[in-house]
Amino acid sequence: MSDAKRRSPAARRKKVRLTLVLCGTLFLAAATALTLSALQENVTFFFGPTEVTEGKVPQGATFRIGGLVEVGSCHIREDGVTREFRITDGSNAVLVTYAGLLPSLFRDGQGVVALGQLDTGHSTFVAKEVLAKHDETYMPTEVVEAMKRAGTWKGDESVAEIEASGTSDPCKAKA
């Protein structure tokens, strides 16, 4: 402290500024390190049903899958908790299971995105989360992209088509 006292105000001001800049840089560096490591571990990729059936998903990865709920595919299993439905892009479909309540906007023919993993047999997608929190005319962009890649996207027509064929009923229990 006595050191600083002897210096001129300009020099002291410089020192204060230097300290601030150093601290700031240090924080930014720490934050960057945190962010980079977090980005490596916590980013989830998106795949369409066709890519999943073609085996393009890395083993054991948590990812998001998106598409349309295949009309009439959804039902509740015996246990009363697990929902089962197929997500389709028009050419391929993947079976999805989810233990819990589906979002209230979930219904036949609706665009949907689910987060989870493939089970060990690589046939079923076990969802931790199902997102369909958009309005009834909304189509997630990922789903559109996936359908374009699968070659089944026909513009807004395809949405209208599916909507017309779908009932407004959500999941039903098996009789």
Partner: protein, 674 residues
């Protein structure tokens, strides 16, 4: 007819805003008092016109005028009145109209209450405010006219998204907008100060109330949105790190930082260009948020319209205002002279640390929000960055902030010694340890991370109480009666700070309970069956059909009894599923009962076969504290705003000699006695 008048008022407002943007600025440059004086009447007229336009649109909604396209798309004659009104801002065009109306409101407020502002600063501030408004008004008039007619007029409207028909959400957008847009006036002040080349203690004192006002509303708006998500989406979550949530959270973080750095400018005449930079960044983040939400680049419930033409326009607006202000900053900021000196361990140092941590946090949130966009542009990979990313980056930055927050308010200005301050805080530390140990016993076997949140929360509570105690009884010689008298005489700004910091403490506790200590059960039950959730028995007693005003509800009644209490007391919870008549959309109305220490939360699902219903039940400890905490923060903001010092105090530039410490608040100062 009224709709046409509204449209006319909107267009007229554009003209008035243009005059307000140009004449006062030219006048200020030339030193022409009459040209500068144009700013005040134009600001008032512009506000009156936009308010008229806003009320005209509201009139169309209230009377269900289905010849207006906007009303057709977003309203329905059967809708309850509250949602007819909230429908006005529940869509793209209407929300923009609200945005410009609030911008004009802030301009008018400065025009009215800024009588003792130096004329040059006032003229420039109002001119810049009007310039931004011109941009938004052009956007509205050219691409998003809320008064567009439709012919022939349909008999019935398409209704507002039922998810948005909710009291919490009716007030969420206006509050959030007052916060968002309130930052625009701070931005205008900053740019005006840069043009003038003068930032001093008086400037900080003029700007701080506006920041406080915007911050308080932003806090309230974000909390309302979070509360809505908690009870309406039926997942029991309160924050999803959704890009749109982040869009409102980033300006909040920066505004919080600015609130603190402006104190340093005011008291110590230093950190000036940093504070200006924060003001610019804060509003820029508001604009970026608007762009992200409105352009449809990111999709979410909030994206009303994904129209590329609109996106490009907002992007241009963004480029001009952010680019322009940063260029101005780069050009003028070096001329701002530095002021008071301070050591790293001092009140200034603590506030700098606060600023560094808050802005770093805002930067990580920004990166997490934009990273998926960048990656998609570069590699075409679709990714999402979800809660795990933010938990891994945001939380580690917040913990040191909260620990330091416990110490900061005790440090004197200029230079401080940590030892006596830490000695003062021993009680708070012991309190935190005791609470943590106790909590550890109660939640034994659950998430150990939760203890960290509880420890931080208890530490902050201890520190806030110690801080008030130190203020009213700095030495032993002061008796308790006298100390009580001093308690009543504490300046409101001191109470404001304590309330806001206390609010943060209990928000931390609530968030910890909600995210780490919740018990969730998802089961299929028949009527009469019971599910155990933590220490409670949830019994589904009945499921009935109940008609609502514009929906049909399936109502499930749950009876809840505490298991080990020995009493017969029980609670009834009624959860509903509502099917809306206009479009068949279904919403979930969770049943929530709040107690002082926890929430009980029940959701009724669809029939699951064999006479069963799927139900989702929660025991959520500490969650009510989260909402109480945000109320404390908002109250803190308004208390501080009502402080005498800001109401009548110094806004006289002559009072603030450069480099002088303005007189501190009266005797009970925040300094420790040493």
């Amino acid at each position: 007819m009224i709709a046409e008048l509204g449209h006319y008022a909107l267009t007229l407002a554009l003209g008035v805003a243009l005059v307000q943007a140009i004449l006062p600025m030219v006048g200020a440059t030339r030193g022409d008092a009459r040209w500068m004086a144009v700013a005040v009447p134009t600001a008032l007229v512009q506000f009156a016109l936009l308010m008229f336009a806003f009320l005209a649109l509201m009139h169309a909604y209230v009377t269900s005028d289905f010849s207006v396209l906007n009303v057709v798309a977003n309203s329905h004659s059967l809708k309850p009145m509250l949602y007819k009104i909230s429908g006005v801002w529940g869509n793209h065009e209407g929300s923009l109209l609200l945005w410009v109306a609030v911008m004009a409101l802030f301009g008018a407020l400065v025009a009215i209450f800024g009588r003792n502002l130096p004329p040059g600063l006032k003229a420039r501030t109002l001119s810049i405010q009007a310039t931004i408004t011109v941009g938004f008004l052009l956007f509205m008039v050219l691409t998003s006219n809320p008064f567009e007619r439709v012919f022939p007029a349909p008999l019935e409207g398409r209704d507002l998204n039922p998810l948005l028909q909710d009291p919490g959400l009716a007030f969420h957008p206006p509050m959030l907008y007052i916060g968002y847009v309130g930052l625009s006036i701070v931005f205008s002040f900053a740019c005006a100060a840069l043009i003038e080349g003068k930032v001093d203690a008086a400037w900080a004192r003029w700007v701080r109330p506006w920041t406080l006002l915007a911050w308080s509303f932003l806090t309230g708006g974000i909390a309302l949105g979070s509360w809505w998500a908690y009870y309406e989406l039926g997942w029991g979550g309160f924050w999803f790190w959704d890009p749109v949530e982040n869009a409102s959270f980033m300006p909040w973080l920066v505004a919080t930082a600015m609130l603190h750095s402006a104190i340093v400018v005011e008291k110590r005449d230093t950190l000036k260009s940093w504070t200006i930079l924060l003001a610019i960044i804060g509003f820029s983040l508001s604009l970026i948020g608007t762009f992200l939400v409105r352009s449809g680049v990111l999709t979410s419930v909030h994206a009303f319209a994904s129209d590329p033409e609109r996106g490009v326009f907002i992007l241009m607006l963004l480029a001009v205002s952010i680019g322009g202000s940063f260029a101005l900053y780069a050009w003028r900021a070096p001329s701002l002279s530095g002021g008071g000196l301070f050591r790293p361990i001092s009140r200034e140092g603590a506030l700098v640390l606060n600023n560094l941590l808050l802005t770093t946090a805002a930067a990580t949130v920004l990166l997490g929000t934009l990273y998926p966009l960048f990656l998609e542009l570069l590699t075409n990979d679709k990714i999402s960055v979800g809660p795990p990313f933010f938990n891994a980056t945001f939380v580690p930055i917040m913990i040191p902030l909260f620990v330091a927050l416990g110490v900061g308010p005790f440090l004197p200005w200029k230079r401080a010694d940590l030892t006596p301050v830490l000695r003062l805080l021993i009680t708070a530390f012991v309190f935190a340890v005791a609470v943590t140990v106790l909590a550890g016993i109660v939640i034994w076997g659950q998430q150990a991370y939760a203890l960290l949140g509880i420890a931080v929360s208890a530490w902050l509570v201890g520190s806030v109480v110690t801080e008030i105690y130190r203020k009213i009884r700095p030495t032993r010689s002061i008796g308790f009666g006298q100390a009580f008298g001093r308690l009543l005489n504490l300046p409101r700004a001191a109470w404001g700070m304590s309330a806001a910091h206390f609010g943060i403490a209990i928000v931390v506790a609530g968030a910890t309970g909600a995210s780490l200590l919740t018990t969730e059960r998802i089961e299929a039950v028949r009527i009469g069956e019971t599910v155990e959730v933590a220490q409670f028995d949830f019994t589904l007693t009945s499921v009935t059909q109940v008609p609502g005003p514009n929906y049909m509800a399936t109502r499930g009644e749950f009876t809840i009894t505490p298991r080990d209490s020995g009493t017969d007391q029980s609670y009834i919870l009624e959860a509903e599923n509502r099917q809306f008549l206009s479009n068949g959309q279904v919403t979930t109305e969770a049943a929530i009962r709040s107690f002082s220490w926890y929430d009980l939360y029940a959701v009724l699902g669809e029939p699951a076969g064999q006479g069963r219903y799927t139900v989702r039940l929660y025991f959520k400890p500490l969650v009510p504290w989260m909402w109480a905490g945000t109320i404390f923060m908002v109250i803190g903001g308004f208390l501080s705003l009502s402080d005498r010092r800001l109401r009548v105090g110094a806004p006289k530039r002559s009072a603030a000699a450069p480099n002088a410490t303005p007189p501190n608040a009266p005797s009970p100062s925040a300094h420790p006695a040493e």
